[in-house]
């Protein structure tokens, strides 16, 4: 069954024809060519696919593209102000060496931004670790990811993002 979908991705109106079974992550990657959002599992556990849909952090591998009809979606590609000005969270990941292979990073950064905002820019280490429950990293051992998020929270606040 072919269905038309239309939504806003990173501020831009997009549309396409999908099957009912097309996942949002497939729509982003395969229809729109936006391959920043990753797929790391089949079980909705790894969080490599996390995007923001209407202000909520979701796993784009576990929502149908048709369910995001009319939504405002933000992906990792929509964060940096310009090619040479990263989002404070991206900057903090770079500064703190919070990635190795980088596969989990788009989802980590998206989850991290959501967590900082939900906690009103105030986080402690235990909270960060608990809130990262839905994101798996096979390389870093999480330590530097946690450091990066703790560093980014005040940076996001002063940058007003």
């Amino acid at each position: 069954m072919s269905i038309s979908v239309a939504m806003t991705v990173n501020g831009k109106a997009v549309s396409g024809k999908v099957e009912a079974r097309t996942l949002l992550v497939q729509f982003l990657r395969e229809h729109l060519g936006m391959t920043g959002t990753h797929v790391g599992c089949d079980t909705s556990q790894c969080g490599a696919c996390v995007v923001d849909v209407d202000g909520k952090s979701v796993k784009s591998c576990t929502i149908l593209a048709v369910q995001a009809e009319g939504s405002k979606v933000i992906t990792i590609e929509g964060l940096a102000e310009s090619p040479d000005k990263l989002h404070p969270m991206q900057e903090a990941f770079r500064e703190n060496h919070a990635l190795q292979c980088g596969f989990c990073t788009p989802g980590m950064v998206m989850s991290a931004i959501d967590m900082v905002k939900r906690h009103n820019y105030q986080l402690d280490e235990a909270t960060v670790r608990r809130e990262l429950e839905g994101n798996l990293c096979r390389c870093t051992g999480y330590h530097n990811i946690v450091k990066a998020i703790l560093a980014a929270a005040p940076a996001m606040k002063s940058a007003g993002v």
Binding site: A20, R21, D42, S44, G47, K56, I63, L64, G134
Partner: protein, 265 residues
């Protein structure tokens, strides 16, 4: 994933009609269980009926001393609701410890209770608080609702519209989470309500169950000391790579005592 026809009705009546007209149709609410199931090709519905646009299924309200939670209400909404936190803090705590933040932003109470996963958290609260499940056709008492492994009293095409939880005098939920999935290896919900004391166990067996001996002891003396010598048999409990039936039986006692202590705080 096999393809299917997709529907997005705006009312419960339209959703039920679609589910009745198409014998192989399935409802989808949060999709946090159904979509992974479809990906593994463990289900092949002809039609998927999305409850996402059915407004009447969402929201939390107070009715007398009960908290009534709409079937489509997301775990994150229950966890952060001021009304739930005030009336039944243990229920907000339970919802806030389901899976991870992204699962809580999509997964719903109706989907979780309808699915009746043996390791799901909500069934513990529904049974311990003696909640009432309301569907499009009737009201079902908690003790009549959960029938067995992934089995409930729901008929084909019957939808959970809301669940009504009586306010508790004292209540707490303690879960020993599976370290990978966060589902309950064993979860014990203890509640003291106007109707008495109930102890409901999830994760340990094929389906949520009550522990009568603990309920009787706690009715006389609501303290963890009152149940310290009560053990439950390992017969029929779940045994898998995460833990044996004996281990789970032991955890029931530990989690029950911790829950009573937490409820008394």
């Amino acid at each position: 994933m096999y393809d299917f026809a997709y529907h997005r009705p705006k009312s419960v009546a339209d959703a039920v009609k679609l589910l009745k007209d198409k014998p192989e149709a399935r409802a989808i609410s949060g999709g946090m269980t159904l979509i992974p199931t479809l990906k593994q090709r463990l289900a092949r519905p002809s039609d998927v009926v999305d409850l996402g646009a059915v407004k009447e299924l969402s929201g939390i309200k107070l009715e007398g001393t009960n908290v009534v939670i709409g079937g489509m209400t997301k775990h994150a909404e229950v966890a952060t609701s001021a009304d739930v936190k005030a009336a039944i803090p243990a229920l907000a705590h339970l919802a806030g410890h389901i899976g991870d933040p992204q699962v809580r932003n999509r997964g719903t109470i109706g989907g979780s209770v309808a699915n009746n996963d043996p390791a799901a958290d909500y069934p513990g609260a529904v049974v311990a608080l003696n909640a009432t499940v309301t569907t499009n056709t009737r009201k079902i008492a908690a003790d009549e609702f959960f029938k067995g492994l992934f089995e409930t009293a729901l008929a084909d095409g019957e939808l959970i519209t809301s669940i009504s939880f009586p306010k508790a005098e004292k209540a707490a939920y303690m879960k020993f989470p599976n370290p990978a999935s966060r589902y309950a290896m064993v979860g014990v919900f203890v509640a003291k309500t106007a109707a008495g004391v109930r102890v409901a166990v999830t994760g340990a067996g094929p389906c949520v169950f009550r522990v009568k001996a603990m309920e009787d002891a706690l009715a006389k003396n609501f303290s963890s000391a009152a149940i310290k010598d009560i053990t439950i048999p390992a017969d029929g409990l779940n045994s898998d790579i995460h833990g044996s039936a004996e281990y789970r039986a032991h955890l029931v006692g530990v989690m029950a005592r911790r829950a009573v202590d937490a409820a008394n705080k």
